[in-house]
Amino acid sequence: MMRRLFYNKIFWAAAILLGLIGAGALFAPQMGLPDPQEVNLAAKLLPPSSEHLLGTDHLGRDVLSRLLYGSRVSLGSVFIILLLIVTFSTLAGSVAGFFGGVIDSAIMRTCDVFLTFPTIILAMFFIAALGTGLTNVVIAIFFTHWAWYARIVRGIVISLKNREYVLAARVAGTSRGRIVARHILPALAPQLLVLSTLDIGHMMLHVAGLSFLGLGVQPPTPEWGSMINDARQYIWTQPQLLIYPGLAIFVSVMAFNLLGDAMRDASDFSFAEVES
């Protein structure tokens, strides 16, 4: 998989782009940018200048600074969601796949229930019950997405648990826990990595979308979706205020999708190699 990815131009383009976005997010506080939340009505809607590279918004805040700090929210929340989902689903899916029977049925029926909730509706439910905020958006996305991962993990575990090398490990006296850690998780990890990379873009859109609707990140915290919302009233006069965060969302979602695609293609190839 690695060797094939090495020669894939799209993979490198996407990876470099994401590296830049990631570096921007990580090092935003160190870059000496103006405070993204500092309101200065005297300097509102300024065109680009050496002081404000991308100009200022309707409250005189620096747009570039808000974009970079916004990426921290978008990327950060998505990584937290994925961490939660991957941990929880790997646990649930492995238990279901490994033990089978009643435990398996119970976990899978629970998955079926969760798979029927649309993310936006569940998010609205949480927000109505618990109030607006990023945490509730994270919870809503977690609840509506973990079941997909759990089902996939279960499928892989079932296909692996009767693989000869897992049987051989049992004959070799390896305990169940060690079999999972030594033989199953390492086979699962690359597939989960590909799957979650393909899903990052989708989740970023959820976070941005809910924030655009005013349900997620609350002002004045900078976030791409809420920046678009702020810019709505200036769509004809100051379209760049809408275009910058729009472009940021577009480019990062696309880069994650391309990266995921490249990884999936590369891993398909190596699966074929193993089968033959």
Partner: protein
Amino acid sequence: MSALLSLKNVHRRYRRGGFFTRTEMLHVLRGVDLELEEGASLGLVGRSGCGKSTLGRVALGLERPDKGSVCFRGEDIAASDPASYAEFRRSVQVVFQNVQNSVNPRMTAGEIVAEPMRNFFGLSKAEAVERSRPLLEQVGLKASDADKRPTQFSGGELQRVCIARALAPKPRVVVFDEAVSSLDMLVQARVLSLIEHIRDEQGLAFLFISHDLRVVAGLCREVALMADGVIAARKSSVKELVATGHPAIGELLASLPPAAPGR
């Protein structure tokens, strides 16, 4: 003195069919009785799909029989205390047919052979990997092969790694499930002579599962025929088994490829 490993009236069913089709039970083992003494070399033949591998998995303790019991030195493994179960686990080892799937592609040959020694002898990983080197030499590989990964071996070499893993915990019985069937003729002959050599040297008992009568005829001192979920006959040579005129034997004879020079 009770037999080393014995199956008593073993039944095994599988559920077949999914959510929408009516589930039906596939009764694969229908009362298997089989005894394996110390040092025995028993071939188990039967047409493909008759349940030989299932019998092997049950004998290895990988699957529970639905009815009947598997006994190691006369003691039911389902009811034995942890110490005697551990002794059974160490003493009964296996080599499978599908060579590529038999080894974890992310481990080195040394780590693969080390796995049972770490579990049964409480060795550290480094110690066990060192002890895998003489074992690899014993099966005709090089000590330095311990650092190679499965993709760097041919099918025959990989099967030797699997044999080394099976021998590592110093077992009393090894189950070979079609262990040479996926290899080509020449490699098959070499691996078979290795198996024969190890048996004679270490006095191992083995159960050699195969659908190829010629392989069994060349290697085993006893042959059992499986048909309709039971052991239909057990004889001391393939010739005598053929003489019983059991219909399943006729099928096996007909399925043999034309005689090839060599073996």
